[in-house]
């Protein structure tokens, strides 16, 4: 691990200012992704700003009838919150399907959203990888790509976004609140937070250097049956090959977001509109323009089947 300086700012404003104009500065929350990558020198911050004690660890009701989830709320506490279990079961389920009890106790809402891909070549510093080393090439295209993305990909990168929580947040129309170094704030719909790789796969989200996530807002409860179905190589403690997060209303309408198949949680309005017509029709819309490899083409079938299982569970 490279050496770095460390600070624990006293306020949210101070935290955002501390990172401004310092390219090597990074926020550290739970540290479960950042430290993992720092040990491998894939992440090499020169300065760490610890945002753990800024009072961002609360879940509050909003005047609109939704919830404001502090950026530092731990995954365990979010999944266990009574309001979330009752009104946003999809979110609890997605969180509980991810990582382990120990990791969820440390992992935070913001850190989870910004966690980086699990592409094996991103982790293997001996291999070319455009995300890790821009311009070096993509080893996954002709390599082991079974866990990687089939939609939203580019010739430069086919990495998938690993988060379970983000899939639920996408289906629930969450909005990310941030504060920038100059003190201004903005609200970013989760759909716009992550970027597709294009020819700059190393740029993964729209946040500026030093822009601190302060909260994630959930609109008022969506109702319906809320189901998260994660398909993986082990029954526990494994990343998703395909995950379906759905809210299905009694009349068959609803919304669906998919994990494991794209560089960001994947949702299509056209697919939501097809939900009453069944899994095949909705999956076709979700997978439009898919560019699978030989290794991961199975995901096309798996999306339809997992969605089909979710829709029949919702009816049952």
């Amino acid at each position: 691990m490279r050496a770095f300086s460390y600070e624990r700012p006293a306020s949210i404003e101070a935290a955002a200012q501390a990172a401004a104009g310092m390219d090597g500065a990074k926020f550290i929350a739970g540290g479960t992704n950042l430290l993992d990558l720092m040990k491998l020198e894939i992440e090499r911050p020169t300065h760490l700003i610890d945002v753990n004690r800024l009072g961002l660890d609360r879940i509050e009701a909003t005047p609109e009838g939704g919830l404001r989830i502090g950026a530092l709320v731990r995954n365990t506490d979010l999944a266990a919150d009574e309001r979330v279990r009752r009104d946003y079961a999809l979110l609890s389920r997605a969180l509980l399907a991810g990582a382990s009890g120990q990791l969820r106790n440390r992992a935070t809402t913001a850190g989870n959203l910004l966690q980086r891909t699990r592409c094996p070549y991103f982790y293997d510093t001996n291999q070319p990888c455009n995300k890790r080393l821009p311009g070096s090439g993509c080893s996954a295209l002709a390599g082991f790509s079974r866990p990687l993305a089939v939609v939203g990909v580019s010739d430069a990168c086919i990495a998938s976004h690993p988060s379970d929580m983000a899939v639920a947040m996408r289906a629930l129309d969450a909005v990310v609140e941030t504060v920038r170094a100059d003190g201004t704030t903005r609200s970013i719909p989760i759909a716009d937070l992550h970027r597709l790789p294009g020819d700059t796969p190393h740029i993964e989200h729209v946040l500026e250097q030093g822009e601190l996530i302060t909260a994630v807002i959930l609109p008022k409860p969506a109702g319906g049956k809320q189901i998260y179905r994660k398909v993986r190589d082990r029954a526990s403690y494994a990343f998703a090959l395909v995950a379906v997060g759905a809210v299905v209303q009694p009349d068959g309408t609803g919304r669906v977001a998919i994990g494991g198949i794209a560089p960001k949680p994947w949702r299509k309005e056209a697919a939501d509109a097809e939900l009453p017509n069944g899994a095949k029709a909705a999956a076709a819309k979700l997978l439009e323009g898919a560019r699978p490899t030989d290794d991961n083409a199975f995901k096309l079938t798996l999306v339809e089947r997992a969605l089909s299982a979710v829709l029949s569970e919702a009816r049952g």
Binding site: T76, R86, S100, R106
Partner: protein, 211 residues
């Protein structure tokens, strides 16, 4: 909880101090002063409790909580398996909650209370979970065992605190202690020797005794 301002020397103070010095010295000293400031700011003083005892350390910022415990405080009960959050051998309790000590920095734990296997019980005075692991042969080589024991003690508390799991059927009903629940909730602790069945038996016995 510790106030955020308590860090002994902040990077800003150091940079400000070196900047003040260099206004009166040569360019050569300038680079020297900055290098010095950088090296010093790469360590931080931290005070936390370990197994009830207050410990004060000045540590390179890179030191994981795991390395602080093992290399600096010589509490070698906590094991290093993967050092990447994948095996659970390093599980300790931070303010009563289980966590992977390899994926957190020691300097982030100012004012926290850490409990390691040594703090749960000692050979002459075993924690009930330690005794149950011995009784049920909940190990072979024993390398994963400290992590398994710390994890299982905190895991039972999580069930009592009504924290749900992936296999909890009804999110609005109280969490239950079943074998399925124990297996799912312990999935962050890998045992290369495959002592899982006996581990579940040990935990089940302790859970039943306390329930």
């Amino acid at each position: 909880m510790q106030s955020p301002g308590a860090i002994e020397i902040s990077r800003r103070d150091l940079l400000a101090a070196s900047a003040a010095t260099v206004t009166v010295v040569s360019a050569h000293s300038l680079s020297h002063a900055q290098t010095k400031a950088t090296t010093e700011s790469q360590s931080t003083k931290v005070t936390f409790k370990v197994n009830g005892e207050s410990r004060e350390l000045r540590l390179d910022n890179r030191t994981s909580l795991l390395d602080a415990l093992r290399e600096h405080l010589h509490l070698t009960g906590t094991k290093k398996g993967c050092d990447h959050g994948q095996c659970g051998a390093c599980t300790v309790l931070i303010d009563g909650r289980r966590a992977n000590a390899c994926l957190t920095l020691a300097v982030m734990h100012e004012g926290d209370s850490i409990t390691t296997l040594e703090g749960l019980g000692q050979p002459e005075n075993l924690h009930p979970m330690q005794a149950a692991f011995v009784k049920h042969d909940g190990f072979q080589c024993g390398y994963c065992t400290p992590g398994q024991i710390c994890s299982s003690v905190a895991m039972l508390e999580e069930i009592r605190a009504n924290i749900p799991s992936h296999v909890t059927r009804d999110l609005t009903a109280p969490a239950e202690i079943t074998s399925d629940e124990i297996r799912e909730r312990m999935s962050g602790n890998i045992c290369r020797c495959g002592a899982y069945s006996n581990i579940v038996e040990a935990i089940t016995e302790v859970a039943g005794r306390k329930a």
